[in-house]
Symmetry: C2
Subunit: 207 residues, 2 copies
DNA sequence: GATTGTGAATAGATTCACAGCT
DNA sequence: AGCTGTGAATCTATTCACAATC
């Protein structure tokens, strides 16, 4: 499938939100919806919904609205989540463990196919139905499983070296939970989730 | 302290990033730094650093750069993290537990002062040095501890009702981990961290 | 000479408003 | 009649380039 590569992450994230809304609507048995009604129900902007959707094609019917099931399918294809994405977790500490057990990763379009840690007492134990392997085995583990996405959940001090190892092992994208400014490789897309920055944002508005 | 209330969240998050960089520099013994050098070291934009900082005041010395220790202190005051912020966790499941044990919440300017869950088998047990209380006790718990920030780590299905309870109990801001569009109360600031949306963003660029 | 702080210029995102379909 | 798709208008953010300052 061809797609624009220069869409803004903001618009892309909104597409994910729309998709979630459509799933809700579908579960409720709604089969058609207008942008305005969707905006009202989920606290979004109607013109932005139309603009975002139109960016990828003409999905609606003028005078009528959008077909919920059809639009949902189109958006899933668009995001590339019509198929299952194998993912790995690097670091089986608190955050890694929590993510391994996160229900969203068991019901959706992502599957945790391997977990790595460098603590020998953890290696060999089971977590979320997967046996933890040693971080040395990152490269063969990624190759065997065809993993595309790595969730990096290691301490900040070792995040850069683990990221490097993932890049060399041929991973395609990384979701990073370590609170560091990673030195990025151009061929690997990284999304950093920095809890302290979120907390500091909230702290600012407390004043 | 007075401050502009209309700063963009993007700029605010960058201030957090600068602060982290300054801490690194200070730990390395660097006492002065120019925007250009800081940009080079941490992969940022020099003109953006200057613009962001200048928005809050004149922190630098022309021809010289910025005093690391001084700027750090100013930014901490600016973000309101010169003092400790008491925070609570609602939901002691996988994510709630991981966050309770997250090192960032033990070394920084945030302190987890209470944890709530509605599972009677969890109530009364210890987690990260705090005894888990029943969710019924949210309001008195918030009052006693003076908690300002709540970390909402409950299943998606019950996120809205727990949010409502937090609003009624007088919390000031919420960091929400449930993958839902919360119906927001105007007086409570909310930041949602949605892992599935991040994963979907990465999936898009795999294609 | 070097570097900040800042107005002007550019780029990007959102909202408006309406022509074009059904 | 009603709602989408979209160009134009507005608003926001980033980058540039240089005068002001040390």
């Amino acid at each position: 499938m061809t797609q624009p590569d220069d869409i803004s992450p903001l618009a892309l994230n909104r597409i994910s939100v729309y998709l979630r809304c459509l799933r809700h609507l579908q579960a409720e048995g709604v089969s058609r919806i207008a942008s305005q009604e969707m905006a009202r129900r989920f606290h979004l902007s109607a013109s932005q919904i139309r603009k975002d959707l139109a960016y990828f094609g003409e999905f609606g019917i003028r005078g009528v609205g959008y077909d919920v099931a059809h639009l949902r399918e189109r958006l899933e294809r668009l995001l590339g989540i019509q198929r299952l994405h194998p993912a790995i977790i690097v670091g089986a500490g608190n955050i890694g463990t929590a993510l391994a057990l996160f229900p969203g990763f068991h019901s959706g379009n992502f599957r945790i196919v391997a977990i790595f840690d460098n603590d020998p007492t953890k290696v060999g134990t089971e977590l979320a139905g997967v046996t933890i392997r040693h971080s040395h085995e990152l490269a063969p583990g990624i190759e065997e499983t065809g993993a595309e996405i790595a969730i990096l959940a290691v301490p900040a001090e070792v995040a850069q070296e683990n990221y490097q190892a993932l890049v060399e092992a041929g991973i395609k994208s990384v979701l990073n939970f370590a609170p560091v400014q990673l030195e990025l490789a151009p061929e690997v897309r990284v999304k950093t989730v920095d809890l302290l920055i979120f907390m500091e944002e909230l702290a600012y508005f407390l004043q």
